[in-house]
């Protein structure tokens, strides 16, 4: 029997239908070849610095620091990436692999739409055909992103199965892939799924942590005390954490607490009691499931964290206690977003705002000489419909009504 590969502690693996085995062999081969080719990472970094905006800045949040009165707060600005989130890092990296594999079509799932926009963008840039699967619920929450995917030339397919969110979009993408793997690469959007995805996505995202470590040392002359990232699938968290894994730095992943982790409405796989280890979507990790192994509905105000599983690498780091996990509930998220906008002039995505919640809770009790980094994984523009509803903005409502009137509603 072969030695098991793709495991992180007890998590990960590749639970694949036979039809995909050879496709994953090819992908693994190409990924490992690229990873061991020093020219590849140079090509990747060059692409990211001429097409996106790498290195992204590390912004000192002076006003929030003063307001909270504890550690110095820094924000890693993944929102300044082309397409508005860290998702671009992974997607452009996979795009280079697709070119190497000679495939001509890409598919992807998307929750917040950021990964979909990033993939559609990459496809436009590399000249690939592109199909994006997106849960019907998310299509509604993130309509602007759907619009832009289509304008970028992608076909967006609303998934009407299951809970009609991210996990269902992943299933549908797999269903497409098992029919079209010869021509098609599935650009998985987060550090989940069967090996090599969790490792490969983390590898591309590690550019965040590499930069952040260098930047904070330059600015503060020492390592930060803690690093905060929101955790959907776990790619932005893995990205920034990987820069500090071997350092005496506390790493905190913040999950979507939804309406509270004691309710039915959350998406906390590592903080909540109703999650347990299981195998689905091709990998082994903590899932929010019932006793018999049926996946449960999840809830989060942010589409991008509204996911039933979590990176197997993070599950392992959770068990090993290398990463601490916390949950932020919807109301806190809106409040943290509001604070950040008004005091710092930056607009975190609803996903990213989760990381801000916990950072803002913990910063006041740290020393003034300490510093912390929050990973702002994306920008909040895309969330305008959700945020306008959360703030119950009356002018936005009348604007939409008027617009609907023009359209003959």
């Amino acid at each position: 029997m072969q030695k098991k590969k793709g495991y992180f502690g007890d998590f990960g693996g590749a639970f694949l239908p036979e039809i995909l085995i050879s496709t994953f062999d090819e992908l693994e081969h190409e990924y490992l070849k690229a990873r061991h080719d020093p020219a590849f990472f140079e090509e990747y970094k060059n692409l990211m610095s001429t097409y996106s905006c790498r290195p992204t800045p590390l912004t000192y949040a002076e006003n929030m620091t003063k307001k909270l009165g504890g550690a110095k707060i820094y924000i890693k600005r993944e929102d300044l990436n082309h397409t508005g989130a860290h998702k671009a890092n992974n997607v452009m990296g996979q795009g280079l692999l697709v070119k190497r594999m000679g495939k001509k079509r890409v598919i992807a799932e998307t929750g917040a739409g950021q990964h979909g926009v990033a993939t559609a963008t990459m496809a436009a840039k590399f000249g690939f055909d592109c199909t994006i699967y997106m849960g019907e619920v998310d299509v509604k929450r993130q309509r602007p992103n759907v619009f832009w995917m289509e304008r970028l030339g992608a076909t967006v397919i609303p998934v009407k199965e299951g809970t009609r969110i991210l996990k269902d979009a992943i299933n549908e993408a797999f269903r497409d892939w098992v029919s079209n793997m010869d021509s098609t690469h599935y650009v998985l959007g987060t550090a989940c799924g069967p090996y090599p995805f969790p490792e490969m996505v983390s590898y591309f995202q590690s550019v965040i942590g590499m930069e952040a470590r260098e930047q904070i040392l330059e600015r503060e002359g020492k390592l930060p005390k803690s690093v905060y990232a929101c955790v959907g699938g776990g790619s932005n968290a893995m990205g920034i954490f990987s820069g500090f894994m071997d350092d005496p730095v506390e790493l905190i992943g913040v999950e979507a607490g939804g309406k509270g982790i004691d309710t039915e409405y959350h998406a906390s796989r590592l903080c909540a009691d109703d999650a347990s280890v299981g195998v689905a979507q091709g990998y082994k990790t903590y899932f929010i499931q019932d006793d018999e192994g049926q996946m449960k509905e999840t809830h989060s105000i942010s589409a991008g964290l509204d996911y039933v599983g979590v990176s197997p690498i993070l599950s392992d780091l959770h068990e090993k206690k290398r990463v601490r996990f916390e949950a932020a509930i919807d109301d806190e998220v809106i409040e943290a977003m509001d604070l950040t906008m008004r005091n710092e002039g930056v607009i975190p995505a609803l996903e990213s705002a989760h990381a801000f919640v916990t950072a803002y809770k913990e910063a006041p009790s740290m020393k003034k000489s300490d510093s912390i980094i929050i990973n702002q994984s994306g920008r909040g523009d895309k969330d305008i419909f959700t945020v306008a509803d959360a703030f119950e903005d009356p002018e936005w409502r009348s604007f939409i009504k008027e617009k609907a009137g023009e359209y003959g509603a």
Binding site: F15, E18, I19, I21, S22, V178, G278, A280, E292
Partner: protein, 253 residues
Amino acid sequence: MLKKYIEEKRKEKDILLMTHIVIGYPDYESSFKIVEAMVEAGVDIMELQIPFSEPLADGPVILKANQKSLELGTTVKKSIEFGREMAKKYDIPFLYMSYYNILYKYGVTDFAKEMDASGLKGAIVPDLPPEEGDEYITSMKNLNLSPIYIYSPNTTDDRMKYISSFANGFIYCVARKGVTGSDTEFSDDITTYLERCRNATDLPLAVGFGVKDKKDIDFLKGKADIAVIGSETIRLVESVGVSAIKPFIEGLR
């Protein structure tokens, strides 16, 4: 044992039929009637799918059946009761089909024991390649149950042999890429593919994915041992009703 059963039956028939149901679809009562009709129509083996919320390898028809069944309250416990009853009542081999998480959460060894105690003969777990299946393979083997493995058109000859070394009962050869429920064009490519399968294993070969009428089954005669009818009977139940099952299956051979 499963292998032996198939070999015996094959002496009587030039091809065997395996059919499939999703337990609890269109409802729990109908499942009984569908199995009854299938057995009466002379089906040789049956797959009983325990519904799962994420049936990754299934196409729209079976996917919907899984969801509907779960909505109606089908549980794993109830599915196992159902399996036990069927195995007791009818004298053909029954297999479970499900996804690995169902076994994993039940406890893989316990699940195998339960299967054995219930009189089922084996299982098909499409998202559990042999590389991930240590406990499963061991516990199935210990109880003389058949872990059914899958070949696909892009499985290499070497890998077919590798897979065969873990398999038991028969090999399930999927006729084409894709998920369940779409049409397959049965052509020379499939003949060549099935020859490759034949050369890689001593186990009987079942062919499924897109087998839907007498023409398809005639094509498979002499090339495979078992024809698998999957989504087609579900479609039939949906469009006509349970009563259509028996005449349909009788017309296949």
